[in-house]
């Protein structure tokens, strides 16, 4: 059994290593320096620094006893909630979003960092509860408060991800489908609130579905996604040939990472990265099958990561309307990277405990 766990850990670490370093390469190539005629190292070095921090956090969390985590989940959840509302008062505004705290030279985004606490808490509530529907209502109310803080920043992409995490966890916990039907209603209501508050949101959604997109206006972003993907072809333009990502693709190192990766590596490279995420999911899925008790947390965590990847890719492939969403482990952003590693650390912690108890 120990050998199986060792192999599982080795595979997970190898996949994480490949994906993270692909991300650093992508950031390097998409930050072109016209004076050096090369990719710029400033963002790539920062990402590497956060990769090491994230990796250390993951290793630390992996070694923590999951019973302790479950015990403290309530305290952690409410402490995180206070910080999420605190950022609205004391946070810094970047790109029109008040969602960051400045610590020295670095900025931290609590909504990205606290994903693991959110997943842990709502899973813990479901695991302890005998009446799943009651737990669903309790989690639902707390999720509205949690997601409300993120919507006030306003960070719609991350809010959608939290909503989906809640839906998936509730679905896996075995909540009745009739209760789950409330979720689309909530989603539609939130959409109307969003459209009511922001006129550009309505235009963006209307033009996406109507097909009468104004290329110089709202459709500019997704036209750039399409052009970057088209330029990649089957095998891409190599890392030094990412002309479109350097010049026209908005936030190529961040919100448009999949399109930039497609331009650099083509369908083959992008598909390999996507498949690696699926392999990661399947590895955790297989490992979670050994112990039914912890399966909810493990699958919720890994689904949250895979869901964000799929959402990001769908936005970049113009399957769903555009919103700012990072690609886990690939996109530039310290908080996003550390937050993803914390999620993985949480899942690994539950897998490790499962091994010692499940045997």
């Amino acid at each position: 059994m120990k050998k199986t766990l060792f192999l599982f850990n080795a595979w997970v670490h190898a996949i994480l290593f490949i994906i993270s370093f692909s991300g650093i390469m992508l950031i390097y190539s998409s930050r072109y320096d016209r004076h050096l005629d090369l990719g710029s190292t400033d963002f790539a070095l920062k990402q590497f620094f956060f990769l090491i921090i994230g990796f250390l956090c993951m290793e630390y969390l992996r070694k923590v006893d999951f019973h302790k985590l479950l015990c403290h989940s309530k305290v952690l959840f409410f402490a995180a909630l206070v910080i999420l509302y605190g950022v609205l008062l004391f946070g810094v505004k970047i790109n029109g979003m008040r969602g960051w705290f400045y610590i020295g030279k670095f900025s931290l985004q609590p909504s990205e960092l606290f994903k693991c606490i959110y997943v842990l808490y709502i899973s813990a509530v479901y695991m302890k509860a005998e009446n799943k529907e009651r737990a669903f209502l309790q989690n639902g109310l707390l999720s509205i408060v949690w997601i409300g803080a993120i919507l006030l920043e306003p960070d719609y992409g991350t809010a959608v991800i939290y909503g989906i995490i809640f839906a998936i966890t509730s679905f896996l916990a075995g909540v009745k489908l009739s209760m789950l039907a409330l979720l689309p209603l909530c989603a539609v209501t939130s959409l109307f609130v969003f459209i009511g508050r922001k006129a550009y949101g309505f235009n963006r959604i209307y033009e996406f579905f109507s097909g009468n997109a104004d290329i110089s206006g709202t459709a500019w972003h997704w036209k750039q996604f399409q052009l970057a993907i088209a330029r990649g072809g089957w095998f891409g333009n190599k890392l030094d040939g990412t002309f479109w990502s350097n010049n026209y693709l908005p936030f190529a190192y961040n919100d448009s990472a999949y399109a930039a990766m497609h331009e650099a590596t083509g369908i083959v490279g992008a598909a390999i990265i996507l498949i690696l995420f699926f392999v990661l999911f399947i590895l955790f899925y297989r490992e979670s099958c050994c112990c039914k008790d912890n399966q909810l947390v493990i699958i919720s965590v890994i689904s949250a990561i895979l869901m964000q990847v799929l959402m990001h890719c769908s936005i970049n492939c113009v399957i769903i309307p555009t919103t700012g969403l990072t690609m886990p482990l690939i996109s530039y952003g310290g908080s996003s990277l550390v937050g993803t590693f914390l999620l993985l650390g949480l899942a690994l912690s539950f897998c490790k405990q499962m091994d010692s108890t499940g045997e």
Binding site: H35, L172, L227, A230, F243, Y248, I267, Y285, C317, I319
Partner: protein
């Protein structure tokens, strides 16, 4: 737990949808999208040939064109500029200060190669311009050969044979983005550049210096 299997199937279908739509964009609609990208990024560039020299009967250059490098940068980067010139081994003496905003200093041709390398380190953009040079000649000979100074215009042989020596500028099409990066392999020739032809005089440099001007030039 059957719900997990439903979730796995849902994720796999979604993954397939993403790869299929990527293939649609990168394979099926590729040509159409590439044409559109060309429309956005394509720029026409005119490249002027270097003006050909005037030589004497032995082939010694009397009037010729030289590339001159110069550095133009914001006054805010004065300290960097000082370091740059110190490292290059040139005394820092900016020749112009345009509206107290930017400074210009020429770089001698001998230091040009080093300056290009060093400019990358300091993230300066070296600019270059062509300068028409003339051998030291008596005033009458200078008027005969001509000059291309800004305030005097062109005169003498320079003006008479200007078109022949200038050549024909080439028009090229390239893909260039707002960051200034040029797409590799995007260079298309619209009109090829033709270099100018040199003008050979029947007289030697010494004869010109003595005031003996040739009656005709060898074309």
């Amino acid at each position: 737990m059957k719900r997990i299997n439903i979730l796995v199937a849902f994720f796999i279908c979604w993954g397939i949808l993403i790869i299929a739509s990527s293939m649609l964009l990168a394979v099926k609609n590729r040509k159409e999208l590439l044409d559109f990208s060309r429309k956005i990024a394509e720029r026409k560039v005119t490249i002027y040939p270097v003006c050909a020299p005037i030589v004497d009967c032995y082939g010694t250059k009397i009037a010729w064109t030289e590339w001159q490098f110069y550095l133009q940068c914001s006054v805010r980067r004065k300290k960097d500029m000082e370091k740059f010139f110190k490292e290059l081994g040139i005394v820092f003496e900016p020749v112009h200060i345009v509206e107290k905003k930017c400074m210009i200093q020429n770089i001698p041709a001998a230091k040009a190669a080093n300056a290009v390398k060093l400019a990358r380190k300091y993230r300066f953009r070296l600019r270059k311009k062509t300068v028409r040079c003339l051998q030291k000649l008596p005033l009458t000979a200078q008027n005969f050969i001509g000059s291309t100074f800004l305030y005097y215009g062109i005169n003498g042989l320079e003006a008479q044979y200007n078109d022949r020596m200038q050549g024909i500028p080439g028009i090229y099409q390239i893909m260039r983005g707002p960051s200034g990066r040029i797409e590799k392999n995007s260079f298309k020739i619209m009109l090829p550049m033709r270099s100018g032809r040199e003008l050979r005089l029947q007289a030697s440099l010494l004869e010109l210096q003595c005031g003996l001007f040739p009656m005709e030039v060898i074309k």
